[in-house]
């Protein structure tokens, strides 16, 4: 049986992990390589690196970061943030990413999904959807949540699937940073409308929140602060998930 995945996410700026990371046993809590290896060691099933830089020069630094993390990591690596073209995606895959996540650029140009899945395969084409509740629908947001699009997230996920996406990374803008749990109605709506694996993101503060997400159709959960703040290790989270009846990898 396929295991439910736990995926820590690191925000990277100029080759350094940003957001507070409070591990005590790391020499350097801002080094993406050391932190990635630390999470792998704890039992992370995958890792996401999110490039939060703004300039082209800093993007080149991201390629070096991906190369350095890849050398050390023996689990899958997804890279997202600011990918605008098939060439951007190709450079990240060459640097060692296994999957590339596209967001705003896919909304602007849905053909990019098809181009990526044709060239590199569905299995490395992740479509990231940021959305918030707006009346009766979940409205898609782009440009780091600053731009509201006239698109329904549920319909967009189905379209992404039809264009060849292999996975959806679904982030609730309403819940992100609130620590109040994943947006379960949105998660249910998307997993019912689309037959791709969906990674739930935004709002996790406890194992109970992760259990809820898996019960509402998530194939994986993304979490940042719950791990960065060292409230719990990935291993502790997985042991508690297993006790709650969720099938997780135990190797």
């Amino acid at each position: 049986m396929l295991k439910s995945r736990i995926i820590p996410c690191l925000d990277v700026n100029e080759g350094r992990v940003v957001k507070g990371v409070k591990f005590q046993n790391l020499r350097d809590a801002g080094d993406p390589v050391e932190l990635s290896f630390h999470y792998q060691d704890q039992g992370a099933d995958e890792l996401v690196l999110l490039d939060v830089t703004a300039t082209r020069q800093e993007r080149i630094a991201m390629l070096e970061t991906v190369e350095r993390v890849r050398q050390k990591l023996s689990i899958p690596l997804t890279v997202g943030g600011g990918i605008g073209s098939i060439n951007d995606a190709g450079r990240l895959l060459n640097a060692g990413a296994d999957k590339v996540s596209i967001n705003s650029a896919a909304v602007r140009n849905p053909d990019l999904i098809e181009a990526m899945s044709t060239r590199f395969g569905s299995q490395c084409t992740v479509v990231a959807i940021d959305a918030k509740k707006q009346g009766e629908i979940f409205q898609v947001l782009t440009r780091s949540g600053t731009t509201a699009e006239a698109i329904d997230a549920v319909a967009w996920a189905a379209q992404a699937e039809a264009l060849g996406a292999g996975e959806i990374l679904l982030t609730s803008f309403d819940r992100d940073g609130t620590r109040s749990g994943y947006d379960l109605p949105m998660l249910s709506a998307v997993t019912e409308a689309c037959s791709l694996p969906v990674i739930a993101s935004g709002g996790a503060d406890s194992v109970a929140h992760m259990v809820e997400a898996f019960e509402h159709g998530a194939h994986a959960v993304l979490a940042a602060s719950i791990f960065h703040d060292a409230n719990m290790t990935v291993g502790e989270v997985k042991r508690k998930l297993a006790a709650a009846g969720i099938q997780v990898r135990t190797d």
Binding site: R70, S74, L77, A95, Q123, E167
Partner: protein
């Protein structure tokens, strides 16, 4: 020296990094002679069946790969699409011609499961295999349904059972990605390197 066949359509960086971590030297090759003489050869594979099969033919490598596996039993590792290429054909690309070492057709996962299969799943060797049972990372929409005669096999469940790896002599083919399967995956690579015999 491990020769990694560079079909040009596969993302092989993770595989190179895995060999680096094991302190093994590797080289990318498109040479039939190197494929024939190397102690270890890897046929990697990410991407489409037809593109990889065409690439093998354009590079003139078909015969060298088949001879290596069928006639000389030199250490050969086929990963993901590389395993599928050993078969005759695939539902993914009806007209493309596989290597035909295994008289089987690759099929798409059926109804009732998310496609692609993305994530970790259990691998259970059904014969005395070269490696222990474990959990491996998969990223595939197509699979081999039943084991070929004369090969050992490991099975995995995903909407029914499929064949997650097969081995014969010093050839090992895995539908999963050992290079992305943590310490267990590294142990699979090490066992292949050191010379499995079944």
């Amino acid at each position: 020296m491990i020769q990694i066949i560079n079909t040009g359509v596969a993302n092989i960086r993770s595989l190179q990094a895995a060999f680096d971590r094991l302190d093994l030297t590797w080289n990318l090759t498109v040479s039939a002679e190197e494929i024939t003489t190397a102690t270890h050869v890897v046929l990697p594979g990410v991407g489409a069946f037809a593109a990889a099969a065409e690439s093998i033919d354009q590079l003139g490598l078909r015969k060298a790969i088949i001879d290596r596996i069928n006639h000389r039993d030199s250490a050969t590792l086929c990963i993901c699409l590389g395993m599928q290429l050993l078969c005759e054909s695939s539902e993914e690309s009806q007209s493309a011609k596989g290597l035909g070492i295994i008289p089987k057709a690759i099929t798409r996962f059926g109804e009732g499961v998310k496609i692609p299969q993305l994530g970790w799943n259990e691998v259970r060797p059904v014969d005395n295999g070269p490696y222990l049972a474990g959990e491996a990372y998969f990223a595939n929409s197509y699979r081999l349904e039943t084991a070929p005669d004369g090969w050992g096999a490991a099975k995995t469940d995903y909407g029914g059972t499929f064949i997650s790896s097969i081995w014969r002599g010093r050839t090992l083919a895995c539908q999963f990605h050992p290079e992305l399967s943590g310490t267990w995956g590294e142990s699979v690579l090490t066992q292949w390197i050191e010379g499995i015999t079944c």
